[in-house]
Symmetry: C2
């Protein structure tokens, strides 16, 4: 802290507060930390001293001894191979409603516990920066949003013994807790809905295929259709951005103009697909029915409004925070997984 206060002096220390109140350092410390064995009268006195001096505990000193910082990091990671895309990483993550919902959910749990959340983007070239930050002990643990099964970060955190919780099933088995949603079930809901409304030429726009969740949604969609006799399902991969959805839809309809039902692996890409369909002169849902995934704000903002698969991201993030807190508490609880259920939200597009 470089708080050069206006009056030029540093912020007061425990010792100074103690002197002001005429008690010992220990007593002040006890009051600050809410230890009950303090005479109520003294407690009151010390509280006045704290207010009078404007005392704030020095975090560095405290965490030097407690080995806690009372803050956790939300790290949004991105592997090498996707870093050089048209739309820069930071633009993508700070434009996708995903992150906001995750943050909100995590804060819901962390704030009442007095734990701070710091958000750190970690695109690949900066991985070591972030890793250094984490190793230095700025935070007690990390909520890791990782978007590829090639991402080395989960493994690294594991090796370093830094408590962490993942936002999805890890690509490789790892002794870490994670939350997830039944991706395949979500895709199945979409498939069955499209069939139920009488569509026969189905296709899908998937997310990046190095993401387990993308793979699952694609596989789930295909499997559900196979059950109904559809052996072949055209697909194109996007990267979860609106532009990539638009592009994928164009490709798909160029190759398969007969498509009348489309499952898109997130709402943002679905919005892009809607754009493409408009340009192609296809009406939604009359000519083509579209189902998205996420039930994000984007689903409500496009025309027609998106029928989509709801994913309880806020609750999932809250659960991640809870799992992390548990992990930080005791050294080595068994890694736990918590799986959430998706559901279909019917709107106008299908």
């Amino acid at each position: 802290m470089t708080i050069s206060r206006p009056d030029g002096q540093r912020s007061p220390t425990l010792e100074e507060v103690a002197e002001w109140a005429g008690v010992s350092r220990s007593t002040v410390s006890r009051v600050i930390n809410g230890v009950s064995t303090v005479d109520p009268e003294l407690r009151e006195l010390v509280q006045r001293a704290i207010d009078a001096t404007g005392y704030v505990p020095n975090l560095a000193a405290r965490s030097l001894v407690t080995r806690r910082t009372d803050s956790v990091a939300l790290v949004v990671s991105e592997p090498d191979d996707r870093t050089e895309q048209a739309e820069p990483f930071l633009n993508r993550i700070f434009t996708d409603p995903f992150l906001g919902r995750i943050t909100a959910g995590a804060l819901e749990v962390l704030r009442p516990e007095g734990i701070h959340l710091v958000i750190m983007p970690a695109e690949s070239p900066a991985h070591h920066h972030v890793l250094r930050y984490l190793r230095q002990g700025h935070v007690d643990g990390v909520l890791l949003i990782s978007s590829s099964d090639e991402d080395p970060l989960p493994q690294q955190l594991c090796d370093l013994g830094i408590p962490a919780v993942l936002s999805a099933r890890p690509g490789k088995p790892l002794p870490m807790s994670y939350v997830d949603v039944e991706q395949q079930v979500g895709a199945k809901l979409a498939a069955e809905h499209l069939l139920a409304i009488g569509r026969h030429h189905l296709a899908t726009i998937s997310g990046p295929l190095d993401m387990p969740s993308s793979q699952d949604r694609l596989a789930g969609f295909r499997a559900a259709l196979a059950v109904h006799g559809h052996a072949y399902v055209p697909s194109a991969a996007g990267n979860f951005t609106r532009a990539s959805g638009e592009q994928a839809a164009r490709e798909l309809f160029a190759a398969h103009p007969e498509i009348d039902g489309l499952f898109v692996a997130n709402d943002l890409m679905a919005e892009g697909a809607l754009q493409a369909l408009r340009d192609l002169g296809r009406r939604v849902p009359e000519d083509v029915a579209v189902v998205g995934f996420d039930n994000s704000i984007a689903a409500l903002q496009c025309r027609p409004q998106l029928t989509t698969i709801h994913q309880p991201l806020e609750e999932m993030a809250a659960e991640m925070a809870r799992l992390l807190l548990a992990r930080i508490g005791k050294a080595d609880p068994k890694p736990r997984s918590v799986i959430f259920h998706p559901r279909l939200v019917k709107r106008e597009s299908a």
Copy 2:
């Protein structure tokens, strides 16, 4: 730090590295901090010891004595009165391309300096949380994105002597550095362009009117039109979200169907306005010309693509970071302001 390493032991200390290398604590410290007065041979030896032990400096211990943390916060603040809006704060900030660009620009400057950036949302009920975080000395300074002239945070940071730089001219005069863009000039560019392409019935959708930048854009637009004899300019205020832009456009066109030129205070709202115009059956730009503001990714993603006022957000954020670093370096440099120039980017919508 609660790093309970897999093998159950804590991470090594300076002392242990010193012992490994057979030198003193001081020497290791010197090597770590790149002090030049170390025998190259010893330096080499110490480096091997560091690698072998996997040593990472303990941040708490270090910053206890240096009073630096080598990290700064990017705080996105929001005043009371706007917290209870349809779209939650976190959704809004993590959906607007604004934040991504700011982050990218700041990191550009901070990363090479080895300074970490932590992002903290600070909607009003959590202000004290964030303030506590900052006061505890987690960071050396703050880049403050504040969106209202009622926001108490700048003043508070100032009082606490926490180094900070603002992202726009503060609502009230304050001895803090800030960057800004010539908002009025930007609005004037929009106004003149709309006139130049032959529009006569101009209107504008502004941002929240408690933001100095919104006020400036509105005032600038009106002033520029006044010069050309337009005494009255219909306007409606949004809150910089797509939905609010759509809503504002509806209101505006319901009251003033003759409008043929529209200046919207950011691209996101302009996208919403485009949506509304499409619903109303107005062609853009034939019936209504639309000019946005920001030149964000959103301007490229809508149909027709937006003519907009470019704001060099990345450079502005980079400059903020530079100003902050300067402020952290020495106690009390004179607060500086750096003003950037907007420019018109012509696309399809006007």
